[in-house]
């Protein structure tokens, strides 16, 4: 290996060093108070970063300089941003966003019920401190320590059977902490050590039938997805098909490659068997289910260099079927597994697609309710042995082409994953994609804090993508603080005011 093998990575430039980094470092190491006077949003963001970083390195120092609420004998706190609270004389708590805890100080003892999130505690006074977590009780001996409890959503996942035990991580910076896990002997954690406590009883495993079903479906989905992807790798006829414009009826300025109705029809047809599986699963739970018409709305957002992103939107599901979260999730996930050709140089198509689901007459011989394209059978033909989604496409007008989008697909389907992907896309100026991901996150039942993040990203992304209606909609839903930033950025970058 020689220097001739070197890669020239100069084309990949890091951003400039954040302003005033030196001052913040010096402020932190000298233990001087961090400036917290009201500033424009830019400076508030940097302050948040200052304190966030300092927590990791010097929790004690940071707790000392954080603006604190007055001491209270008891209270309850749910944080959406880093918050410092004085629990008693000489006892402080620095809670990061997403924390839920309650405390009560009486007779020389502060008791904390720490349910979720990450909190750094500092106990220097004579008031004793105990912290009850889902995995055990912690007793502080003049300690500064950090406690990380999984968020409520993660706990819920575990409880639902994902085999995730409740793990609580305790890091001690100063002093000592005695940890007493539920049903286990106490252990002392000295300064400089980190211990992970596990809740005594792991969550029960999911029902075997459900797991088997899910695995089978996943495997099948993967298989079908691969087959679909392979089948799509074929030359497109020059000039063939209908342009994206004809779907909505209004031609965009430039649509070099078309997405035709046939493409959408073929994509739906490919996933129709899996949609049938969704219904089949519900039918297994409730054999009394009858015929049901489900109207799904999805958005096709695409860029030539990454392919197509299908985002499931509203699902109008009547009756008992509509009450099933599993069915909704299954439909949404299946639709989003659809593989479609790109819209060329970008664009967006919104599709409304009704399906008719009905129990099969002969389930014993049918693997799953199947979906049929109506072109394969006359519309006046009654549903046969398998339920037959009766397709009609009511596509709305395509939007102007968005910028090319090179972001990787979202790493997962949780709201938090989607928000991370949305933020990343937006920070890389991929606003159409960021907007789609943020909207998807909002549909994924995010926490309150995450919902605020998603709304902010959606508002600003819509603004910068010049989707004024959506920008105004999300601006209205943003917090007062975020509105200032969104409005300023909209006016500066896009030249319009999202405020009414």
């Amino acid at each position: 290996m020689t220097d001739d093998d070197r890669l020239d990575l100069d084309g990949w430039a890091a951003p400039p060093v954040p302003p005033a980094l030196v001052d913040r470092v010096l402020t932190t190491v000298r233990g001087r108070p961090v400036e917290v006077a009201p500033r424009p949003p830019r400076l508030r963001a940097w302050q948040a970063a200052v304190v966030g970083g300092a927590v990791i390195a010097a929790a004690g120092i940071v707790v000392a300089v954080w603006p604190r609420t007055p001491p209270r004998s008891a209270g309850r706190l749910t944080t959406t941003a880093p918050t410092a609270t004085q629990l008693a004389d000489g006892t402080d708590a620095l809670a990061e966003a997403g924390v839920e805890f309650a405390w009560d100080t009486a007779h020389g003892l502060t008791r904390v019920d720490h349910a979720a999130g990450t909190v750094t505690y500092r106990q220097t006074g004579d008031v004793a401190l105990t912290v009850t977590t889902p995995a055990g009780v912690l007793a502080s001996d003049h300690a500064t320590f950090r406690v990380e409890v999984p968020m409520k959503r993660e706990l819920a996942i575990g409880a639902a059977g994902a085999a995730i035990a409740t793990l609580v991580v305790v890091s001690v910076y100063e002093g000592r902490v005695t940890a007493t896990p539920a049903g286990a002997a106490p252990q002392t954690i000295a300064a400089g050590n980190q211990v992970t406590l596990s809740a005594g009883d792991p969550p029960p495993p999911p029902p075997v039938v459900t797991v088997a079903r899910a695995e089978r479906n996943q495997a099948r989905r993967d298989e079908v997805a691969r087959a679909i992807a392979a089948s799509r790798v074929r030359p497109r006829p020059m000039g063939g098909g209908v342009t994206a414009a004809t779907i909505g009826g209004a031609a965009p300025a430039a649509a070099p490659v078309a997405l035709s109705k046939d493409d959408i029809r073929a994509g739906v047809k490919d996933v129709a068997p899996m949609l049938g599986e969704c219904f089949d699963a519900e039918l297994a739970r409730d054999p009394a289910l009858g015929r049901s018409t489900v109207t799904v709305h999805f958005t096709i957002d695409s860029a030539a260099d990454i392919g197509t992103v299908v985002t499931a939107g509203d699902l109008d599901i009547p009756g008992v079927l509509g009450q099933s979260a599993d069915f909704r999730e299954c439909l949404g996930a299946t639709l989003e597994a659809m593989v479609l050709p790109p819209l060329g140089d970008g664009g967006q198509v919104e599709v409304t697609y009704p399906f008719v689901f009905a129990p099969t007459e002969d389930e014993a011989e049918t693997d799953a309710p199947a979906a049929h394209d109506p072109d394969d059978a006359p519309d006046d033909q009654a549903p046969a042995a398998a339920p037959r989604p009766r397709r009609t496409v009511a596509a709305e007008k395509p939007r102007p082409a968005p910028p090319a989008d090179t972001a990787a697909p979202p790493p997962g389907q949780t709201a938090r994953d989607l928000i991370i992907a949305a933020q990343s896309a937006a920070m890389n100026s991929q606003y159409q994609r960021a907007l789609a991901l943020a909207e998807k996150a909002l549909q994924a039942k995010p926490s309150k804090a995450d919902a605020q993040r998603a709304v902010s990203v959606a508002a600003l992304s819509a603004c910068r993508a010049r989707q004024r209606a959506k920008a105004k909609t999300y601006y209205e839903r943003a917090t007062v603080t975020a509105k200032n930033t969104i409005r300023a950025a909209c006016l500066h970058a896009s030249g319009f005011d999202p405020a009414p």
């Binding site: 990575l9 430039a13 954040p18 910028p403 890389n428 600003l460």
Partner: protein
């Protein structure tokens, strides 16, 4: 963009002079400020390049600041006659912090204010599209590497550390450094060739 050795490599900042270093070790604030000013760019650069490709770029600032806080605390124990240059020693702290973070951290969304600001400051789509033609593809290719291999590649091909310095900073055998570097370069080059960034 080329995969061959360019005519001039970006070099690390020259080392802090011994007098300033000794003053910083003695607790002189102005001297420590000079130290941070001298090394903040490469440390920020390293933290960002290690974290950004995997969606954790918003943590780079915290990691950079954390690095210098730790440097400040440990500076009195730094041995001027020891095996490591000051820059390598600081890199070591930064890399360990960052790699630990990468191992530990599940990606978290940036704070609302941070995210808004970063989005607000992002360039226009057209400008971004132009600038990321090469840069983003390199970032994407580098981001596919395991974090350890990414660190080796960056230390060698961006920050120009010697193999011995990389081994010291990452606590690896020299052979491991070279093999990781070789594999990392091959992987990135293959990806860039496939994407047409490199002929």
């Amino acid at each position: 963009m080329t995969a061959r050795a360019p005519a001039r490599r970006p070099r690390r900042d020259s080392e802090l002079d011994d007098v300033t270093l000794r003053r910083a070790q003695a607790g002189d604030e102005q001297a420590f400020r000079a130290l941070v000013v001298r090394y903040q760019r490469p440390i920020w650069d390293a933290c960002w390049r290690l974290t950004a490709p995997v969606g954790l770029g918003h943590r780079a600032e915290d990691l950079t600041q954390d690095t210098f806080v730790r440097v400040f605390r440990a500076l009195p124990s730094f041995d001027l006659r020891g095996p490591a240059k000051l820059s390598t020693w600081i890199f070591t702290i930064a890399l360990r912090l960052t790699l630990n973070e990468l191992r530990r951290a599940r990606p978290e969304p940036a704070g609302a204010d941070d995210a808004l600001e970063l989005i607000a400051l992002a360039p226009s789509p057209r400008r971004a599209r132009e600038s990321r033609e090469a840069g983003d593809r390199i970032a994407a290719a580098v981001g596919l590497l395991p974090s350890g291999a990414r660190a080796v590649l960056l230390l060698r091909d961006v920050f120009d550390l010697d193999y011995e310095e990389i081994a010291l900073a990452l606590e690896l055998d020299l052979g491991t450094v070279k093999s990781r570097l070789s594999r990392a370069r091959a992987a990135v080059r293959t990806r860039l060739i496939a994407e047409g960034v490199v002929p």
